[in-house]
C-alpha cells in the first residue's frame, strides 16, 4: 500500500493511504478532541468536533473521516481550527440542558469534558431547547432525548457492531432523533436490550435504569459473567465493595464491548434481598432456622458420619451445579471419593449437555472447540442445529448476525421453532430432531454425490473414510434431493468457511447423540471439524467435563478404570480412592426413591429447578434422611433441604471457569459475600476439616495447582495468564477425553456411518395429543435461579406464557391471554396462553426454566442411564375456567 507523508502540527508523519487524519494523529500521540467518534465504529463525521485546518488549502476538515493525502499541512491547534471547533461545541451546548450538577453521567460525560477542555460554560447563543420528558418504557434504559447530541453512536453500535438494527435516525432536521422502525418504544422492536447503546452514549441521553447508586462506579474489577457458557469478560463497577454495574472490555476476545441483557442488567441479582446470609437448619417443627457456621458444620458432620456408619458410604451422593468453579468441582470429587468414600458424584450439567458432549467426544476426541467464537463473525455459512444462541448465548448470536449482515454469510437453521435469528436465515428447516437427522443425511449425500466435499481432508484425517462415504452413497433409502437440500449442499461446498453450532435442544432429544454425530460428519465433509461448537449452558459446564466430575470419571482422565491415574490420585490425595463407577445424578434421585440413598449434598444446585417431575422428585427427596444444599438464594416455596448453606457468587470468590470454547478464565475475588456466605470450596474444606480430615488447602491457587498436577490439559495453564481478559485456551488434543487418542492423526476423527433406519417422529398418545416444544428464554438462562432474582430481568419477562398455533387453540376453544392447564403423563401446570401463528402446529411451546418451572412439573423421569428426554413429552391442554 502506498505510504503518504503529511505535515501534522509541524511534524513530518506518514501512514498508508486511506488512514484518516485522526488515526494518524493518535498513532503519533497528537490529541484531537472527538465526540461522535468511537474506535469500534465506522466514523461518520456527525459532530464536527474533530475539526482541523489544512494550512495549504485553508480548509477546515473533520479529521475522523478525512483520509490523509500527499502534502497536507494539518494543524490541530490553528486559530481557524480552534474557532471552528468552539463554534461547533457552542452549537451543541446551545440545545443541551445545563444540568451537569444533577446529571448522573458525571465525570464520564464526553460533552462535559469537551466543554471543560475548551473553557466553555453556558453558551452565548440563544438556546433553542428541545424539552422532552424522560422516557422509562422498559426496565433497563432511561432515555432523555433533551441530552441527545445526535452523534449516532447508539445507531452505529446497534446496526454495525451488534447487527441488530433496532434503531436509526427518524424524522428530519431539528426533530431528528434515534428511533425504532414502528414507534418510540424499544419493546416490540428488534432490540435485544444488550445495552451497548447505553454503554457508548457520550452523554446521559441513554442511561441505565434502576441502578442502586447514581454515582458512576469508579472502581472497575475484571470478572466473568456466570449466566451462560460464553463466559463473557465483564468489568464490574464497584461502589463501596458492591457490584453496581457491568461493562464489556475491548480487549476481551469473546465479547469485546458487548454484553447481553443478562450480563449487563442481570447482575443486580447479586444484591438481591433473597441472598442467603447464614446457614439454616430445619428443626423438628419443619421450620428453617438460622444457625452459626460452626454448629451447622458440626451437626452436618455428625449426621453424615452416622449415615456412613449405618448405611455405608455408597448411601451418600454429591451433586454439583455447572456454575461451580473448577476448584469447587475438583473438591467435590475429592471430598466424595476420598473423604466420604462414595463414588456417587455428578453434576446436573449432564441434563442439558450429555448426548452432545458424548457425541463430540466420540467424533472429535475432544471437549474443546478448535476455533474461537470470534471466527463465527468471519464465517461464510453458519449451520444452527437446534441452536438458539439468540436466547441462550446472545453474544454468540451477535457474531452470527454480524456474519450474515456484514459478510453476507448464509445461515441455515434446523429448528422446529422460529427464533429471532430466523429473520436472518437463508434456509430454514422447521423440523423435529428426527427429521433433522434425515435432512443432514440428505445434505451430506448431496455433498458427496456432487463431489463438493473436502476429499483431501477426509482421506487424510478421518478414520475409515471409504466406509463412511459408501454408507452415504449406497444408502438404501436415498432419495432425490429437494431444492432446499441442494441449496444447502451448495452453501456448504468445500472451500467455504462453514461453522456449525449445536444447541441445548439437541442435548435434550432422544436422538441427540445421533444428531450430534451427524453434524460432526457434516463438519468432516466440509473439512472443518474445528468449527463445530456446542453451546454449553452452564458457565463452567466444560469444567465439569475437564475435572471429571462424574460417576465414571476422575480428575485428569475420562475413565475411572485407568490404574495409572488411580495410583497418582492415591499419592496426591494421600488416601484411598473410591474408583468404582457411581450413580449419576438421576441415579441418585432414583436411589433416593428406593431409599438406598440416605444423604444428598447439592452444591450450587436448587434441586427442584433442574430435576424432572417435580412431584415425584420432591417425594423422593422427602424420603432422604439428609438433604443439604449450598446456594446463593433462599427459595422457601421449593425448599426440600434439611440444611442450607449460603454460598458466595462468582464475583465473591477466587476461582477458574472454562467457557464453551475452552478458555480457562480466572476470577479474583472482587467483593465480600453477603453476611456469612462462603464459597462452595470453602464449605467443602470446612466440612472435611470438621469430619476430621483436613485437606490443607488455604487458597484457590493451591487447589488449582493440585488439579494441574493431575490434569494434563489444565497443567499447561498459567495461573497468572488465566486472569487476563479471555484467559488461556485449552489446547485441542490435550483435554481430558483425549486420553483415548491413539496419537495417530489419521484416526483422530471418527465418522458415524449413516444409520440404516432413520428415527421417526414419536406418535402422541391418544389422551395427550400435543407435543411440547421447549423454548429457552433469554432472560432466564439455564436453571433461571439467579436471573429470577434480578428485579429488572424479572420485570422484563412479564410473566410466563405458552404459545400455540391459532388452529390448535381454536380446536380446544382456548383464547389468547387466558390461562390454560397443561396435563402430562406425570404432572399438571398452568400458564397464560398466547395464540401465535408462528408456533408449530400440533404442539405447544413451553418456556424452559424459571420462574415457575413448568417443564420440570410436566417432564417424566428418563429411562435409567438415559438423558432427559424432552422429545417424548406430550400434553393435553384445556382452557381454565375463570373463577
Amino acid at each position: 500500500m502506498k505510504t503518504i507523508t503529511i505535515s501534522l502540527n509541524g511534524r513530518e508523519v506518514s501512514g498508508p493511504s486511506g488512514t484518516t487524519i485522526l488515526d494518524l494523529a493518535s498513532q503519533v500521540g497528537i490529541h484531537i478532541p472527538t465526540l461522535c467518534h468511537h474506535p469500534f465504529l465506522k466514523s461518520v463525521g456527525a459532530c464536527r468536533v474533530c475539526l482541523v485546518e489544512d494550512l495549504k488549502t485553508g480548509r477546515v476538515l473533520a479529521s475522523c473521516v478525512t483520509p490523509i493525502s500527499e502534502g497536507m499541512e494539518i494543524r490541530t491547534d490553528s486559530p481557524a481550527a480552534v474557532t471552528a471547533r468552539r463554534g461547533v461545541l457552542e452549537l451543541i451546548l446551545s440545545d443541551h440542558p445545563s444540568a451537569c450538577v444533577v446529571c448522573s453521567k458525571g465525570n464520564d460525560c464526553v460533552l462535559r469534558d469537551l466543554a471543560k477542555d475548551h473553557g466553555m460554560c453556558d453558551p452565548e447563543l440563544d438556546p433553542l431547547r428541545r424539552w422532552r420528558p424522560t422516557q422509562e418504557v422498559n426496565p433497563f434504559i432511561v432515555r432523555d432525548l433533551s441530552k441527545c447530541v445526535m452523534c449516532g453512536r447508539c445507531i452505529r453500535v446497534c446496526t454495525d457492531f451488534e447487527a441488530v438494527g433496532a434503531i436509526d435516525y427518524m424524522d428530519r432536521g431539528f426533530d431528528s432523533h434515534p428511533g425504532t422502525a414502528y414507534g418510540p418504544a424499544l419493546d416490540g422492536s428488534e432490540c435485544t436490550f444488550c445495552g451497548s447503546c447505553v454503554a457508548l452514549c457520550p452523554t446521559d441521553a441513554l442511561a441505565e435504569r434502576d441502578r442502586i447508586t447514581t454515582s458512576s462506579g469508579k472502581d472497575l474489577a475484571a470478572g466473568v459473567c456466570s449466566y451462560c457458557g460464553t463466559g463473557c469478560h465483564v468489568q464490574y463497577e464497584l461502589v463501596d465493595g458492591r457490584v453496581v454495574g457491568a461493562r464489556g472490555l475491548q480487549a476481551a476476545p469473546m465479547n469485546s464491548i458487548s454484553l447481553c441483557v443478562r450480563g449487563r442488567y442481570g447482575q443486580d441479582a447479586l444484591l438481591s434481598s433473597h441472598r442467603l446470609t447464614s446457614p439454616m437448619i430445619r428443626r423438628a417443627d419443619g421450620a428453617l432456622n438460622k444457625a452459626p457456621w460452626d454448629n451447622a458444620l458440626k451437626e452436618l458432620a455428625t449426621r453424615l458420619q452416622e449415615i456412613k456408619q449405618r448405611h455405608g458410604p455408597e448411601s451418600i451422593g454429591v451433586i454439583a451445579g455447572p456454575q461451580c468453579a473448577n476448584e469447587d468441582l475438583y473438591l467435590a470429587v475429592r471430598f466424595a471419593r476420598s473423604v466420604l468414600g462414595t463414588p456417587n458424584v455428578d453434576t446436573t450439567s449432564k441434563f442439558s449437555s450429555r448426548p452432545v458432549s458424548d457425541g463430540i467426544a466420540a467424533a472429535l476426541k475432544t471437549t474443546v472447540a478448535g476455533a474461537t467464537l470470534e471466527s463465527i463473525s468471519d464465517a461464510e455459512t453458519i449451520v444452527l442445529v437446534g441452536a438458539r444462541p439468540d436466547y441462550t448465548h446472545p453474544v454468540v448470536a451477535r457474531n452470527v448476525r454480524r456474519a450474515v449482515r456484514k459478510r453476507g454469510a448464509a445461515l441455515i437453521q434446523l429448528d422446529m421453532l422460529r427464533t429471532t435469528l430466523s429473520d436472518f436465515a437463508t434456509l430454514q428447516f422447521r423440523e423435529d430432531v428426527e427429521q433433522q437427522t434425515w435432512t443432514l443425511f440428505q445434505i451430506m449425500r448431496e455433498l458427496v454425490a456432487t463431489r463438493r466435499y473436502d476429499e483431501e481432508f477426509l482421506t487424510n484425517n478421518v478414520m475409515a473414510a471409504e466406509d463412511f462415504l459408501s454408507s452415504l452413497l449406497g444408502h438404501p433409502r436415498a432419495q432425490l434431493p429437494g431444492p432446499e437440500v441442494k441449496q444447502a449442499a451448495q452453501l456448504l461446498s468445500k472451500g467455504r468457511k462453514s461453522v456449525f453450532l449445536i444447541g441445548p435442544v439437541v442435548a435434550r432429544a432422544t436422538h441427540g447423540y445421533m444428531l450430534t454425530r451427524l453434524v460432526a460428519d457434516l463438519a468432516f465433509l466440509c473439512g472443518r471439524p474445528d468449527s463445530l461448537f456446542f453451546l454449553h449452558e452452564g458457565c463452567n459446564e466444560v469444567g465439569t467435563l475437564e475435572i471429571g466430575c462424574g460417576p465414571n470419571g476422575l480428575p485428569g482422565c475420562a475413565s475411572s478404570y485407568d490404574s495409572a491415574v488411580l495410583e497418582k490420585l492415591r499419592s496426591v490425595w494421600g488416601s484411598d480412592v473410591t474408583a468404582d463407577r457411581g450413580m449419576d445424578a438421576m441415579g441418585m434421585i432414583r436411589g433416593a426413591e428406593k431409599r438406598t440413598i440416605k444423604a444428598l449434598l447439592f452444591l450450587g444446585v436448587d434441586p427442584l429447578t433442574v430435576l424432572p417431575d417435580t412431584e415425584r422428585t420432591q417425594k423422593a427427596l422427602e424420603g432422604v434422611d439428609l438433604v443439604v444444599r449450598t446456594g446463593m438464594f433462599a427459595a422457601p416455596d421449593r425448599e426440600v433441604a434439611h440444611m442450607v448453606f449460603p454460598a458466595a457468587a462468582l464475583t465473591e470468590t477466587d476461582g477458574t471457569y472454562i467457557n464453551l470454547e475452552g478458555r480457562v478464565q480466572r476470577v479474583a475475588k472482587l467483593c465480600n459475600p453477603p453476611g456469612e456466605a462462603r464459597p462452595h470450596a470453602r464449605f467443602l474444606l470446612d466440612l472435611s476439616g470438621t469430619l476430621g480430615n483436613p485437606l490443607g488447602f488455604l487458597t484457590a491457587r493451591q487447589i488449582f495447582e493440585e488439579i494441574q498436577s493431575l490434569s494434563p490439559s489444565l497443567g499447561q495453564v498459567s495461573w497468572d495468564e488465566a486472569a487476563r481478559p479471555g484467559g488461556v485456551r485449552l489446547k485441542q488434543g490435550n483435554s481430558a477425553s483425549d486420553t483415548q487418542n491413539t496419537g495417530n492423526e489419521k484416526t483422530r476423527y471418527v465418522p458415524y456411518p449413516a444409520p440404516a433406519i432413520f428415527p421417526s417422529r414419536p406418535r402422541p398418545p391418544r389422551d395427550l395429543p400435543l407435543k411440547v416444544f421447549p423454548e429457552e428464554q433469554t432472560v432466564h438462562p439455564g436453571d433461571g435461579v439467579m436471573s429470577g432474582m434480578s428485579r429488572r430481568l424479572a420485570r422484563f419477562a412479564k410473566g410466563e406464557s405458552v404459545r400455540m398455533h391459532p388452529d390448535d387453540a381454536e380446536a380446544i376453544k382456548a383464547l389468547d391471554g387466558r390461562r390454560v392447564a397443561l396435563v402430562s403423563e406425570v404432572g399438571e401446570a398452568q400458564a397464560v396462553l398466547r395464540v401465535d401463528p408462528d408456533a408449530p402446529r400440533g404442539g405447544i411451546v413451553v418456556p424452559v426454566g424459571g420462574p415457575s418451572y413448568l417443564l420440570q412439573r410436566l417432564l417424566p423421569w428418563p429411562e435409567e442411564y438415559c438423558p432427559l428426554d424432552w422429545d417424548r413429552l406430550f400434553v393435553s391442554v384445556t382452557p381454565v375456567e375463570d373463577q
Binding site: 446496526t159 441488530v164 438494527g165 433496532a166 434503531i167 436509526d168 435516525y169 427518524m170 424524522d171 428530519r172 431528528s176 428511533g179 425504532t180 422502525a181 414502528y182 422492536s189 428488534e190 429473520d423
Partner: protein, 154 residues
Amino acid sequence: MTQDFQLSALKNILNRFEPSRNTLIPLLQEVQAEFGYIPPAAIRPVAQRVGIFPSEVSGVITFYAQFYTTPRGRNIVRVCRGTACHVRGARTVLQTVERFTGLKDGQTSEDMRFTLETVACLGACALSPVMIANKTYYGKVNPGRIEAVLRNLK
C-alpha cells in the same frame, strides 16, 4: 381478506425490484403509489427485500416529506403559503378549505374524501394565491371558486 390481497400486491411490487439497497426509494414510491401510503406492515418485507434493517427503512420514510405512513384521502388539497400567496390572501384560502372540509393542516377526513396540506411554495407565484387539488393547479382563487372546486371532488 384485504390483508391477504394487500400482501400479494406488495409481493408483486417487491419482486419487480432488485434485492439491493439502491432500489429502496423507488420501491417505496411504488408501494405508496399502490396503497396511497406506506402501510407499516410493509416496512419489514421491504427491509428484507433490499437487505437492510426495518429501522433503516423507517428512517428513510420519516426523512422524506413525500412518504406517508397513514392512509391519505382520495383527494389531496394543497394550499400554498409562500410569500407571494400570503400577501394575496392565502390565509383566507386556507380558512375556506378548512371550513369546507373540517380539516386542519395534515389531516385526513374520516370518510377519506380529503387530505389537507399546506406547502411552503408551489413555484407558481404569478398565479397567487394558488391551490392544488390532486394534480390540477387553481390560480387566483377566491372563496367561491374554491368551494366550487371542492364540491366537485368526490
